[in-house]
């Protein structure tokens, strides 16, 4: 700090350093982004290549010609339309039942009052510790005995209540002041009225984000559908895609263009949703982090 000259120099040096840091950051970020997006780009670009182009020794970054018939070929090879239908029905079933049971249970645990409430809540939380990956054997046998193999009921039932969903909603409902509930009761609103007219609208955003997480989990679920729905009739997309690979009987690498077309179709709904609801998608997870 002796003279103005040296402080000016220092300022310039600092500015230069800042510029370099910015430059490095931009370069790094762009390189990393390109690497991360590459598998998706590869999936999409390969899905429109011809078989000859797929088998070239020197891979082409950009497809020479666009072959959209790869997509229709997938439908001819496996029952992809059926898989879509099965996935949609399964996801809708899981979503519907998780929302309804979740909202009611969350109400009971946050605004209700009954003996043994805490014990019941611990019972629900304890279920978080017991994953399907441990209990699937008895559940599979139960469902098989009840004739639910290869049925929608079998696909949906083990997932139709989520302790995680109940927990998240309960935390949100807790934050709402009891005076709203009391006022509603005075106005003669019953429990269903309170839930649908007061709590749900007030917690719209959490409900929405948590539901988005549930939707993607349902759509992408694989473990249980693979176990319970082996039959073509109720196969879902995730399992069907792995199956599509097997229909080429050891020649999968020769037919990667069609497999990639199937892969693109399987992720399309969720990826489109991701871009529409990008902001909510993150808060759905970070809210869980903040708890």
């Amino acid at each position: 700090m002796k003279g103005t000259n040296s402080s000016l120099e220092r300022q310039l040096a600092a500015q230069r350093k800042k510029k370099i840091v910015t430059g490095v950051q931009y370069t790094l970020a762009i390189i990393v982004t390109l690497i991360v997006i590459f598998p998706l780009y590869w999936m999409i670009s390969s899905s429109v290549k011809s078989q000859d182009e797929i088998l070239l020794l020197k891979p082409t970054l950009w497809p020479h010609e666009i072959h959209l018939e790869n997509y229709s070929n997938v439908f001819n090879r496996v029952n992809f339309g059926k898989y879509y239908y099965n996935t949609i029905v399964m996801t809708a079933g899981i979503l519907g039942s998780q929302i309804i049971t979740g909202v009611f249970a969350a109400y009971g645990f946050s605004k209700g009052k009954f003996k043994g409430q805490n014990a019941c809540f611990i019972f629900v939380l304890g279920a978080l510790m017991i994953p399907l990956q441990v209990t699937f054997i008895p559940i599979f046998i139960m469902c098989a005995n009840w004739g639910m193999s290869d049925t929608f009921l079998g696909l949906i039932l083990p997932e139709c209540i989520s302790p995680y969903y109940i927990f998240m909603l309960r935390q949100t409902f807790m934050a709402i002041d009891d005076s709203y509930i009391d006022a509603a009761k005075v106005d003669g609103l019953g429990r269903i009225g309170i839930i649908t007219k007061i709590l749900t609208p007030m917690c719209k955003s959490t409900l929405f984000t948590t539901t988005l997480v549930t939707f993607t989990n349902g759509w992408n679920s694989y473990f249980w559908p693979k176990i319970i729905a082996k039959n073509e009739q109720r196969r879902v997309l995730t399992v069907g895609l792995a199956q599509l690979k097997n229909t080429f009987a050891g020649q999968a690498t020769m037919n990667n263009h069609e497999i990639m077309a199937g892969a693109v179709m399987a992720i399309l709904p969720v990826v489109v949703m991701f871009f529409i609801f990008q902001k909510y998608m993150l808060t759905g997870y970070s809210k869980a982090a903040m708890k």
Binding site: L40, V124, I130, P131, Q133, C160, I161, I259
Partner: protein, 302 residues
């Protein structure tokens, strides 16, 4: 119910509140707690799905698992699962933090790049896995092509027992790292600027303030990521199932895959059950110990 004169209104209200939670309780009882009991029962039988009848065989399966031909498979699953977990934890925590530092700039370009890096989390594992199967393919995969271009030899990524687990981690890491980044970033935004201003007035460098301010302030986030990633990584199944089917030579056979194989391929419900119970106990131990760490070593901003 309203006409009931024997019950006080408060009791009726309590019953109605209880009815709200009843479906969840009944369901969890049937589909979560009952199966655990059933699992313990099956572990004492010789139940093979191919046979019509089963008998109690005492501790036979337990001896098979802990002091018999099953032991080495158990130890192998344990080793593979732990290695896998360490890998995924490293990618999600260290990689996520590094990405958060790289992508921390708040402007339009960076927000688009962040969205791209975060997106793989939403790409269904099946789709991601078939793409990685191809990218990692020994003969036609683009990764080996690129390696050859810079003069390196081709690697049999999925067929070599030394690289198979690494390949699985590439796939799961690709989906997890953006998530780690987003969680870290949203926590970083919450750190008050005052700390950094005070530090820079005291002459602290950027590196110093990262280690003295950012990192300690992020410790609750790190812990959250650590606990949730650890537990979910132990349950890994799908990536292994599609990429390697547990091979080669069980080099990627994680716990869930072992259980799955015994139950759904060999139909040995008895053996699958003992392994499942062992896995469950392991999960409980891991959860309990991570929560214990969390109570002692986390710095919370007051």
């Amino acid at each position: 119910m309203e006409q009931n004169t024997f019950l006080k209104p408060r009791t009726i209200s309590a019953i109605k509140d209880f009815i709200c939670v009843l479906p969840a309780l009944v369901f969890l009882g049937i589909f979560t707690y009952y199966p655990i009991c059933k699992l313990i029962q099956i572990s004492f039988t010789d139940w093979n799905l191919l046979n019509d009848t089963w008998n109690y065989v005492g501790l036979k399966n337990w001896i098979w698992l802990f002091n018999g031909s099953g032991t080495k498979h158990l130890l192998n699953s344990l080793k593979v699962t732990v290695l896998y977990s360490i890998g995924e934890l490293t990618i999600t925590l260290l990689g996520g933090l590094a990405f958060a530092l790289i992508f921390g700039r708040l402007n339009k370009t960076f927000s688009i790049m962040r969205a791209i890096v975060f997106m793989p989390k939403y790409v269904a594992m099946s789709s991601a896995a078939v793409v990685f199967l191809w990218i990692l393919n020994t003969d036609t995969g683009i990764l080996n092509y690129l390696l050859n271009c810079v003069g390196l030899p081709s690697v049999d990524w999925l067929g070599n027992r030394n690289t198979a687990l690494l390949s699985v981690l590439m796939l799961t890491g690709w989906r997890a790292i953006g998530y780690g980044m987003m969680i870290y970033l949203s926590a970083m935004i919450g750190i008050s600027k005052d700390y950094y201003e005070a530090a820079s007035l005291d002459g602290a460098t950027a590196v110093q303030s990262f280690f003295k301010i950012t990192l300690p302030m992020l410790s609750p986030t790190t812990l959250f990521l650590f606990v949730t990633t650890f537990i979910s990584s132990m349950k890994v199944f799908q990536s292994v199932d599609i990429l390697t089917s547990g091979g080669p030579y069980r080099a990627t056979e994680v716990f869930v895959y072992t259980i799955y194989k015994y139950a759904m391929e060999d139909f040995r419900m008895d053996r699958a059950s003992v392994v499942a119970i062992a896995f469950f106990v392991l999960l409980l131990v891991v959860t309990a110990s991570t929560f214990k760490i969390s109570n002692s070593s986390v710095h919370y901003d007051s």
